[in-house]
């Protein structure tokens, strides 16, 4: 009898090695580094919880965590809201325009984040920006979307949402396709308004894709360093300095790798909470 060869481990080995080297090992390396004094990437002495204490006692870093979470939540909410309505509209149509809208909606998601953010930066640029050129042509007063703390944060939320709205639309559309049309039609016959049909029929039936895409978008926003770095650089006066950007600067600009690792550990914990929520949702345990 021929000996049976177990192919499974061999087939998954390349993928596992890749994931271990580029995902698992760096997490534990950063965790370890967060307990050490560092000179660039060299460990020069045990620091205990000093790096964590320095991170927590640094007001701007703590502000960046709050700011990052707030930006992520608002952007995710905006994304889900717009994504839902676009998906709902597309679901009720079958023509060329509906297909085109789905394709266009996905472009920002697949477009390079740097390119997308740069485009918006040029659109929002003061005197020479596309937006103000258009406003001038229409005889409207010019604006400066990146010029004040509030408008810069609003612009950041808008661009981050713009990037993810196509993704949420596709996810929610897939969920809506599984909702039997008869249910909505029956509700319409019973006199239910649009809002009532959405709240009592559509939303409960697409709860899982809604939550899954919501959490995915939220995680993507929390860890997004590219858009704030390119669009606003964290300014003006730290008003858009979100945690991912603060972390990047701490490590790769200030060379404070121990502190950056401690902050990264805090960000990992935030991500773990979100991932736990995600896993519960996909396993139908909510």
């Amino acid at each position: 009898m021929r000996k049976r060869i177990n192919l499974g481990p061999i087939l998954i080995a390349p993928g596992f090695i890749f994931i271990f080297m580029f995902l698992i090992f760096p997490i534990f390396f950063a965790l370890g580094m967060s307990f050490f004094k560092t000179n660039f990437l060299q460990f020069v002495g045990f620091a205990g919880f000093d790096n964590f204490i320095r991170v927590i006692s640094h007001t701007e870093t703590m502000n960046s965590i709050g700011r990052g979470l707030m930006m992520s939540l608002f952007a995710a909410a905006f994304t889900m809201f717009v994504g839902f309505w676009v998906a709902y509209w597309v679901d009720s149509r079958s023509g060329f325009f509906a297909v085109l809208l789905q394709l266009i909606g996905l472009v920002p998601w697949v477009l390079s984040m740097v390119v997308g953010a740069l485009l918006w930066k040029w659109i929002f640029a003061g005197d020479l920006g596309l937006l103000n050129t258009l406003f001038r042509a229409l005889g409207l007063p010019t604006i400066n979307p990146l010029g004040s703390k509030i408008s810069a944060m609003n612009s950041l939320i808008f661009v981050v949402s713009w990037r993810t709205v196509g993704y949420s639309m596709v996810m929610l559309l897939a969920g809506m396709k599984t909702v039997p049309k008869e249910l909505e039609e029956a509700a319409m016959v019973d006199g239910a308004s649009l809002l009532q049909r959405i709240v009592h029929i559509v939303l409960p039936l697409i709860k899982t894709p809604l939550l899954v895409s919501g959490i995915t978008v939220l995680m993507s926003n929390v860890n997004n360093v590219t858009v704030p770095m390119v669009l606003t650089g964290g300014g003006p006066v730290n008003s858009t300095n979100v945690v991912a950007l603060a972390l990047y600067r701490m490590g790769f600009v200030n060379n404070q790798y121990g502190m950056a690792s401690a902050l990264a550990t805090i960000v990992i914990i935030i991500n773990v909470v979100l991932i736990a929520g995600y896993i519960r949702v996909v396993k139908w345990k909510f």
Binding site: I5, L7, I10, L11, A13, P14, N39, F40, L41, Q42, A125, G126, D127, L128, N144, L146, G147, K149, A152, M229, V230, T232, G233, G234, G235, P236, V237, N238, R249, F252, V253, N254, N255, Q256
Partner: protein, 439 residues
Amino acid sequence: MKRILIVVLLVCLVVGSINAAGTTETAAGGKKVVRMWTFLNPEGATSGRNLALKKIIENFESQHPDIDIVVEPQQWDVMTNKFFAAHQAGNAPDVMWVISYDLGSAIEQGMLADLESLFLNNWSTQEIQDIDDSFFRWGETNGKHYQITHSRNYFALIYRKDLIEKFNIQFPFKSWDAMVQAAQKMTGIDQTTGIMRYGLGQSFGLGKVDPPIFTYDALTHQEDIFNADGTANWTTPQMVSAVSRMSDMVKKFKVTPEEAVNFDIEDVYQDFMAGKYAMITGASVRVPALRAGANFDPNSIEIIHYPGDGSTPFGTGLFSGWAVSVWSKSKVIDEAGMFLEYMMSPEADKLWVLDGGQVPIRKSTITSMKDFFEKPENEYLKITAEGFADYCYATPTAFPIPSWREDLNAVAQDVIYNNTAPRAALEKMQNEFNARVGK
């Protein structure tokens, strides 16, 4: 079938592992490979420093058929930090362009090979004298040299000569106040383009950062912005006064737009080429690229030193450049040294000047190309060389000074946007800097 599949997979794994392990020092055909990180990209280059580097590599490779120079282009603002990380990981490039502000840290970390052991010990005294200047001595430690400075840079005022003439402005400026008054005259709607033109372009964003203008204003009136122990020296009356003047430029005289708090330096260069500014604070190495992209008469773009304080004709600019070095742990250290040496050979030095628009490394190049430097369009090279000789401040290399430019830009943001008093803003960032460097 399964056996064939397993064999195929194993072969893939072995081949993949060999590639991943990286035989970077040896290419196909037994050639030695020298990897170089730089912000330049010689691939398909048609002009400027990229073209100069392309020609230099081609010439070197034709003279050394056993060596391949592989350029891995990088983003200039994060390249040196990546080098620090790659050094620790044991995978740094063989030839590295280190940003001037981090040269001290790189030497301190033992990341750079000394040039004496690579080639300088074989040079004659006459040859060494040909390159011996402040750039050559920069970062010299215990009698050893660790870098050759390329893309030698001088931060000064880049201006449009056509506007200076049009507005009949007395030039060069006798003082900082005269410079601001001139900027005021040149601020207004541009009749040709219809866009709002500002007298002086600056950037205070934290993206791609150059030192803010008040650094030069202060350095014109005080010797250094760092103390000998590596701490920041930013709360002096000279610094406070310079920050106040910078704030006035934006808020009182409006010669710089308030949006500058969000601009990075690349925005300023782009907008200058579009005609948004009459003058900008910028780097001399950018002049050829600015001329190439300007939508007005490119020959009107010139460079001048910052104004003096009355006792000297001109103020202080910043000396900067890229410290090109060999990684101390390179497996092809001799070949890397040969290429570094070739990059400043008389032949290569001429290419840097002619194609790259750079100030030469060798004194003999200046002599042999006298006619070239006398041409009016190359006036900026003369001003740059003059700046190096007489009006330059070099950042210290004896101790690390991480993020000082970002800190000073944060001061500008705080003062302009939050109306924080200059001294308070400077003190806050001084404390932040000192805490960062452990003082």
